[in-house]
């Protein structure tokens, strides 16, 4: 161990900032890396809120119920002991945010207000106006700046993390990163590294995420030996606003307040929506799901929209679009209930949703899968040991992962408002774990010779050189667009093995082309094309992982859906009916076969897929989900 141990944290969203605070508070220094000032991290996009049981609404909400909702919401595919800790400690996380000065919305008494969010029965979501993520991120950023002022944190903002430095035993001993101003690669020594680099939705081209959420760092550590898990589980939000640049999120509240989803009944109808009479409109959610209508759960809505557009070819103007209509509701009602949301549509689409139906389509929103991480089980409580070097450890010794880039907590589907929580909480756990690991290293962990660092740096410089000098004619920005089109076509809401084979084929070709780029920018100063070209190679690689995992999983679970393998609850049949018993037996058999984590290892021949049991010790699945 070096005289003064250092911990590198890559990523300054909620996950990275909480990890930083925790490491500093335990007496160690942090080198904090980010592509841009950490205050601009994607976490600032979250609007809705953050879950924690405070039970301020007289509903007898309980932590146990939060645990149950999270496990069931994820269709049982998450290891359960860490979920216990997540929910147990959520109120503490919120109290800390409150002490940091977060402007949480208040009740008339001045206490924190809580509201209802999807997938649960109780009001459990704390929020700060319509910008909860921004408020939480800023408060964390301020605390980290306080530690920076004290000298314990050194920020490397505008740096691109490129790789880990591993010693001969495969232990992580530092990183290399590229200064995005002068494009120089440098090596950094560290006793432990935490990656908290966020989501990967940019693999789908346009998504609800920030334009830097590429997942590239996850792909980089994956290629160096970190295992990736449950890649097939990607959450699609039914109501995104398709744009040239991103598919902005249109809140679920629109449907909740009476918004109706429809398309023209006639294929190729080009009339203005306001001129289409009521009986020539197809309100497909209301027709197909009379009980819930437009408020069916996210996954059901997304699949129905895809069916109408892709199978029935009824999308508006033949495009991937359907109407979300509010125009039948009084303007005053809409302004009070949905003011901020409508404003967003006006700002970015230039039309007034009170006057004209909005145009929406499902959008890639969140990745449940990610870098595989471990935990140390506490046999007494059934949870995870609070502080332990195994928690959030990846399969590379000395490397930890936290936040959206890890695979923990959300299983096959994430509940709304649970990921600001898991990002903050897991940052804290990973920070504690990295410190425990570094303390455990002892003095016999000899300083690594400089040559090891030099050789990794040279390797990365060579990659840069290869990208800069290659003249194969491929444009990295166009390649990214093609990757997105392909992923949104065949690795989307509805999947089939035929489509996934096609996707894998296409990705194989893109992969090869991504090594034959020609950069239009030949400058060695602030060259965004260079860092993008490298990220595109990484996105293609993770795209392959996602498609491969999806191809292999022949069932429907959470966000992963293949019509061919759907187990339908027999209509009108319940516990006691023989048809139901038969269905339940099938459901059990399917769980025996598929209730397991997908674990992916990088090999020279592409991703290798294995499976691993899920720790179900808190709430074993006994009966199927049934929202009837």
């Amino acid at each position: 161990m070096a005289a003064k141990p250092r911990i590198i944290i890559v990523g300054g969203g909620l996950g990275g900032l909480w990890a930083t605070m925790r490491v500093v508070e335990r007496g160690f220094n942090v080198d904090l890396f980010s592509l841009f000032p950490v205050k601009r991290s994607h976490s600032c996009c979250a609007q809705g809120g953050i879950n924690a049981v405070l039970d301020v609404k007289g509903q007898n909400d309980s932590i146990h119920q939060h645990i149950v909702d999270t496990i069931k919401g994820g269709d049982y595919l998450a290891d359960q002991p860490p979920i216990r800790n997540l929910c147990d400690e959520a109120p503490g996380v919120i109290r800390t945010f409150d002490r940091m000065g977060v402007t949480f919305s208040r009740t008339p008494e001045g206490i924190m207000d809580q509201r209802l969010f999807g997938g649960v029965k109780n009001k459990r979501t704390a929020f700060a106006g319509a910008t909860t993520g921004q408020q939480l991120l800023y408060a964390s950023d301020e605390q980290v700046r306080r530690y920076e002022a004290g000298g314990a944190v050194t920020k490397y903002e505008s740096w691109d993390f490129l790789s880990l430095v591993l010693d001969e035993n495969g232990v992580c001993r530092g990183t290399t990163a590229m200064d995005l101003s002068n494009m120089q690669v440098r090596e950094f020594r560290a006793d432990a590294v935490i990656v908290a680099t966020g989501g990967l939705a940019l693999i789908y081209g346009r998504s609800t995420m920030s334009s830097n959420s590429t997942g590239a760092p996850a792909a980089r550590v994956f290629q160096q030996g970190a295992k990736f898990a449950n890649g097939e589980f990607i959450q699609f939000h039914p109501t995104g606003m398709p744009g040239h640049d991103k598919n902005r999120l249109m809140s679920e509240a629109c449907r909740g307040e009476g918004g109706r989803i429809w398309v023209p009944r006639k294929e190729g109808d080009t009339r203005d929506p306001l001129e289409i009479p009521e009986d020539e409109r197809f309100y497909f959610l209301e027709e197909w799901y009379p009980a819930y209508g437009n408020t069916v759960p996210r996954d059901v809505a997304s699949r129905a929209i895809c069916r109408v557009v892709r199978h029935m070819k009824l999308g508006i103007g033949g495009k991937d679009l359907v109407y979300l209509d509010l125009t039948h509701l009084p303007r005053e009602f809409l302004e009070t209930k949905l003011g901020g949301i409508l404003e967003m549509y006006r700002t970015f689409f230039g039309e007034d949703p009170c006057e004209r139906p909005m145009q929406i389509f499902p959008a890639t929103h969140y990745s449940m899968g990610g870098i595989w991480v471990d935990f140390e089980k506490d046999e007494q409580t059934g949870g995870m040991v609070s502080v332990h070097a195994r928690n959030h450890a990846t399969s590379i010794p000395g490397l930890y992962a936290a936040g959206e880039c890890d695979f923990a907590y959300h299983g096959a589907n994430r509940l709304g408002a649970n990921s600001l929580l898991s990002a903050s909480f897991s940052g804290q756990v990973a920070g504690d774990a990295a410190v425990a690991y570094v303390k455990g290293l002892g003095k016999d962990n000899a300083e690594l010779p400089q040559s090891v660092y030099d050789s990794e740096r040279k390797k990365q410089e060579e990659v840069n050189q290869a990208v800069m000098t290659s003249d194969g004619g491929e444009n990295p920005f166009a390649l990214h667009r093609e990757l997105g089109d392909l992923m949104r076509e065949d690795v989307f809401v509805e999947r089939s093995n035929e489509g996934l084979d096609r996707a894998l084929d296409g990705i194989g070709k893109l992969k090869e082309r991504s090594h034959r780029v020609s950069l239009d920018d030949q400058s060695s100063w602030s060259n965004q094309s260079l860092s993008w070209a490298r990220q595109v190679q990484d996105m293609i690689l993770l795209g392959e992982v996602i498609a491969k995992c999806a191809r292999m999983r022949d069932e429907c679970r959470g966000s992963h859906y293949k019509a061919e393998f759907e187990l339908k609850i027999p209509e009108g049949k319940f516990e006691g009916d023989p048809e139901y018993a038969e269905y339940k037996a099938k459901w059990k058999a399917n769980n025996d076969k598929w209730l397991k984590h997908t674990i992916v290892t990088h090999t020279a021949d592409g991703p290798q897929v294995d499976y691993k049991p899920v720790d179900l010790s808190v709430l074993p699945p006994d009966k199927p989900r049934d929202y009837r």
Partner: protein, 249 residues
């Protein structure tokens, strides 16, 4: 509606080279904003004379006007490029980098000054640590919360700094945004315990008295943050602090 989008962009290859103007034309399609159009030009980097050029460099991230990255001067107004819809702009659309911050390349500037200012004014609530102490912060009245919320949405975008006549290369003035953050933290029930340090940071040279009260800052803030209210409040607090320093110490 025109069939084309025309840009006049002020470009510069690096901090020490000279600036030049370049014109670009691209096909019009509805729904474009300045960033999405720049994305198109990045993929098709050809100027209006048909010459292949280096792709334009700029900053953006969230694409929904919350991260503060994409500030630039658009048709003479400093604003967020992601929220500037092409169909609402007069053409040719003139893009320039913010002029009050060191230029990196093309439309990208270095706003580190603003983050340094946040550090200088101690824009945080001092606390023991991030561990749970099993207590909340003191209660906050909903009205006070709403005022604080106005300021806590400041995304350090720098538009107000660009518009402020007192903030420039040759002045030490700290600028409006950091003063807004002093106000935010001085108004928190426990944040105010560290009020004095923040006030001292905005007293004296480059401090709040350099504000000429021109109000430009408020006019350009994309979040409508009432900066001059904060400047007035902090002005009064610094006066009181000045007296305290004189007599009490």
């Amino acid at each position: 509606m025109s069939k084309e989008i025309v840009f006049k962009i002020r470009r510069q290859d690096g901090p020490s080279t000279s600036a030049y103007w370049e014109e670009f034309r691209m096909p019009h399609s509805p729904g474009h904003n300045v960033v999405s159009a720049l994305m198109y030009l990045r993929e098709h980097p050809v100027n209006s004379r048909g010459e292949k050029v280096q792709p334009i460099v700029w900053d953006s991230n969230c694409m929904e006007e919350v991260c503060g990255a994409c500030s630039m001067i658009i048709n003479d107004v400093p604003r967020q490029a992601c929220a500037a819809l092409i169909d609402e702009l007069e053409q040719p659309i003139v893009l320039e980098p913010l002029s009050k911050f060191p230029l990196i390349r093309d439309l990208m500037v270095d706003r580190q000054k603003m983050f340094d200012a946040l550090l200088k004014v101690k824009a945080w609530v001092p606390m023991d640590g991030s561990w749970d102490i099993h207590r909340h912060a003191p209660l906050i009245a909903p009205d006070d919360q709403s005022i604080r919320y106005l300021f806590s949405r400041c995304m350090t975008c720098g538009c107000c700094m660009e518009a402020c006549p007192q903030f420039h290369e040759n002045s030490a003035f700290i600028g409006p945004a950091p003063i807004g953050q002093v106000d935010l933290h001085n108004s928190h029930p426990t944040g105010k315990y560290a009020r004095e340090g923040r006030l001292h940071a905005v007293m004296g040279d480059g401090g709040i008295t350099d504000c000429g009260n021109a109000q430009n800052c408020v006019q350009v803030c994309p979040k409508d943050i009432p900066l001059t209210d904060a400047i007035a409040r902090i002005g009064r607090q610094t006066t009181a602090q000045w007296l305290r320093d004189l007599f009490v110490k």
